[in-house]
């Protein structure tokens, strides 16, 4: 009886879908409202920006590692930014550093990571047809795209792109006379960032609404995969912190273009006094870092979420400390808003305030350590399957530890006097935030590629890519700790001007060579990605034998994700290797009543309740049937 009614239901749905989705090229690939396609758009755009951002870093690494080298062979690309001897223009060097930071932090690790996986995974893993508002989601991508276009154009204007560092501190960034990079390039930077923030907020509002309102039956918050928890909290952080950057940028725009003095006071340029009085540059730093620090976690949390999922699946073990993971992510979310001034220890801030921020900063070590501990204990004695995604996830844990440890030193306001703005900082955040998040991104791509494109990526190429990148990243960033402790400041054009830095010339050459090899290794990934998209081995429905909902969809899910009803959820997402169970994983869609052999005592209690509800549901179905 019920089967019949279900079948009729299903066919009705099929009709519905056939009817609705005759997409043409434009609505399917360009102005799409399907969250899966928008996720892929973010991914491909993110990859594009990662290549540009990486290439810029190679340019300034060439300058740092091989200061006497002639870059004449790059003249077709760099043109006037090389002098007669083929050396890089010093102001362009500043622009390169600035754009590398901006692109990597915002375009790659925020939009490329959050944008891709929040969009792609949230509806699939919570059991929703699409995002709460597909239209807003589409706008989110196109605002990001427009932002990218503006930023891209700024790379090619005569005065060069923004050059004040990715933090764009005034007065340097506020005064056009200061450096060429504070002219039109800076204006375009601000325009691009405004568009980018609009994109992030549109996306973030959508993610939060979808997670709260559109979960399938049975998907309580305590049954959400940790990926979704991570994306959700990331969106919350973004929602609270990006508006503050808007405020900071707005005041900066007024200072730059309308002559106000929010950040400017008593400045002389070339012996000439500027009219601005009464501004405070430290005010900008407060506003900026109120976003800037949470931004670190906007970048990192999604990567940590992806890692939880990948490590649990490929260890064939439940994640260790599911609740502890959630609580530590909540802790990180809250703490991220009250530590911003640790970026400003030497800005002339009250030292007593510095001690408070130091204390709060060091507390973050607790939830971070809980997460590391849980990753390691999940791996401990698991049936490890070393897929490329698993390797990248383990790589993330490694970077998170080695980069996180140096954070404890930097968080101390006294030690920070020596280490502030040196290569020690560069090494720290490139490991803990940059590389860790980048590895999370790659792990996610390797893991969900079969769901995105219905094909598998090549594993052997994945292994080569992993080992080259993993070793390469350590080769690049580990030596920087020594250079930093020696006191060498970041963002400097040349090493050879100071006696103490001369002895690090060899080390810099080594770093640069490692950077080039690491960058080159990414092309293996690029080939693998695009080749597998069209020619890869066809994927099975659930290639990693995973429990979460996205693997219950068809190989190429249409717009709406499930052809029939959305499946209900009966258990948490980490039932791997449950004692007594037939297989080493039980999908979330399998009711407890179907697995009496593996149920724990408290679950056996829930079975009774489950049966009652099922009976009621059946009665409702029968009643509906008789109405027809």
């Amino acid at each position: 009886m019920s089967t019949a009614s279900v079948a009729s239901h299903e066919s009705a749905h099929d009709d519905h879908h056939d009817h609705e989705h005759h997409d043409n090229f434009v609505t399917k690939y360009i102005f799409t409202t399907d969250h899966k396609m928008i996720g892929k758009q973010f991914l491909v755009t993110g990859i594009f920006w990662a290549l540009i951002g990486g290439f810029l870093s190679i340019l300034f690494r060439l300058q740092l590692g091989f200061p006497d080298m002639s870059l004449e062979f790059l003249r077709p690309l760099l043109g006037g930014w090389l002098d007669e001897a083929g050396k890089l223009d010093p102001t362009f060097y500043l622009a390169l550093v600035t754009m590398h930071g901006t692109i990597m932090v915002f375009f790659v690790l925020t939009a490329g990571l959050s944008g891709t996986f929040s969009n792609f995974l949230i509806p699939l893993q919570i059991g929703a047809r699409d995002m709460a508002s597909g239209f807003m989601n589409m706008l989110s991508y196109w605002f990001f795209f427009a932002s990218g276009v503006v930023m891209f154009i700024s790379l090619f204007i005569p005065t060069g792109p923004a050059g004040g560092g990715w933090v764009v501190y005034p007065p340097l960034s506020a005064l056009e006379q200061a450096i060429p990079g504070s002219g039109l390039g800076m204006t375009l930077w601000l325009v691009a960032m405004t568009l980018f923030i609009a994109s992030s907020l549109l996306g973030g509002i959508n993610y939060i609404t979808t997670v709260i309102n559109l979960r399938t039956k049975g998907m309580s918050f305590s049954r959400l995969p940790l990926t979704i928890w991570a994306f959700f909290l990331t969106a919350v952080i973004g929602l609270l912190s990006f508006p503050v950057l808007v405020a900071a940028a707005l005041l900066l725009i007024f200072d730059r273009s309308f002559g106000t003095s929010f950040y400017l006071s008593d400045i002389y340029i070339n012996g000439e006094a500027l009219p601005n009085t009464g501004g405070s540059p430290v005010l900008y730093q407060h506003l900026f870092w109120f976003l800037g620090h949470p931004e670190v976690y906007i970048v990192l949390l999604p990567a940590l979420g992806i890692t939880s999922e990948v490590i649990a699946t490929n260890s064939r073990k439940p994640i260790f400390g599911y609740k502890a993971m959630i609580i530590s992510m909540l802790g990180i979310t809250i703490l991220s808003f009250i530590v911003w001034a640790h970026h400003m220890f030497v800005s002339g801030m009250n030292p007593f305030l510095g001690s408070i921020f130091m204390f709060l900063t060091l507390i973050i070590a607790v939830p971070s350590a809980v997460k590391v501990f849980n990753y390691l204990t999940t791996l401990w004695r698991g049936n490890l399957i070393f897929t490329p995604a698993m390797l990248f996830s383990i790589g993330l844990v490694s970077f998170f530890i080695s980069g996180g440890l140096t954070g404890i030193f930097l968080g101390n306001s006294a030690i920070d006097i020596q280490l502030h703005d040196t290569y020690f900082v560069v090494a720290h955040f490139h490991l803990v935030m940059g590389s860790a998040s980048f590895f999370g991104l790659l792990a996610g791509v390797y893991h969900w590629f079969p769901k995105m494109f219905g094909r598998m990526m090549d594993e052997k190429l994945g292994y080569i890519h992993f080992w080259l990148t993993f070793v390469g990243v350590y080769m690049v960033f580990f030596p920087m700790h020594y250079i930093g402790i020696a006191g060498f400041p970041r963002r400097y054009y040349s090493w050879t001007n100071f006696e103490f830095a001369n002895m690090y010339t060899d080390l810099n050459m080594f770093v640069s060579a490692a950077a080039i090899i690491t960058f080159a290794a990414q092309f293996i990934f690029l080939f693998n990605f695009f080749y597998s998209m069209f020619r890869g081995r066809k994927a099975s429905l659930n290639p990693w034998r995973s429990t979460t909902l996205e693997w219950t969809t068809p190989l190429h899910p249409g717009h709406g994700n499930w052809p029939g009803e959305i499946p209900a959820v009966y258990r948490w997402p980490y039932d791997y290797s449950k004692p007594g169970a037939e297989e080493d994983f039980i999908p979330q869609t399998v009711p407890l009543s179907a697995t009496p052999e593996s149920n724990l005592p408290h679950e056996q209690e829930q079975v009774k309740l489950e049966m009652e509800i099922m009976k009621e549901e059946e009665e409702v179905l029968v009643a509906n049937e008789s109405k027809h």
Binding site: L214, M219, V244, E565
Partner: protein, 193 residues
């Protein structure tokens, strides 16, 4: 197959709020954060000294009254729509829109009053902040007026009634929020001036 389609509900249903309404609340959170950032910037900057003292334009008292009155009108329109009193709905909406525009004009005159006092946008941040607060708030209020006008048009097309209240509810929420935001800003300026 059959098994997959069975429903079980071991837990409470998710929070059942209309997704668009929820998104509006989240949007209001972002607006709150912008103004929280601005007003804290004001306090931080003020504490550093070199701060120009001047009188707040008296017209702020009038515009505050207007904004409260417009909210009363809109609330009346909302209750009318709930009771399917369409004439009352239109009156409430028109009243709110007209008063909203009056508020904007009043804010413009506050700028005129500031200029008369020789407090300019360019100059000591103390004055610049006031322009930024009022300007940024006016910008949001314009978006609110546009929203109200859209709802007004649909009310003339009989699209707003007791069974189709989502847009009206959202418009009312947003409008009250913007009014409250202004009262907060005004109060803040009175206290920290």
């Amino acid at each position: 197959m059959e098994q997959e389609l069975k429903y079980v509900d071991l837990v409470e249903q998710p929070i059942s709020m209309h997704p668009k309404k929820f998104a509006l609340w989240l949007f209001m959170v972002t607006v709150v954060m912008i103004f929280a950032a601005m007003t804290s910037a004001y306090i931080v900057r003020q504490s550093e000294g070199n701060w120009l003292e001047y009188d707040l334009p008296q017209i702020f008292w009038i515009t505050s009254g207007i904004v409260v009155l417009s909210s009363v009108f809109l609330q009346y329109g909302y209750y009318s729509a709930k009771k399917d009193n369409l004439a009352g709905l239109k009156m409430g909406l028109i009243g709110a829109v007209v008063l909203g525009i009056a508020f904007l004009i009043g804010q413009w005159y506050s700028w005129v009053a500031l200029v008369d006092e020789e407090v300019f946008f360019v100059g000591n941040p103390s004055g610049s902040f006031l322009y930024v607060f009022t300007g940024l708030h006016a910008l949001h209020l314009i978006s609110g007026v546009i929203f109200l006008i859209i709802v007004l048009i649909s009310s003339f097309r009989f699209q707003i009634h007791s069974k189709a209240m989502v847009r009206m509810e959202m418009a009312t929420t947003y409008w009250h929020f913007l009014g409250g935001l202004w009262l907060y800003l005004f109060m803040f300026l009175l206290l920290n001036h």
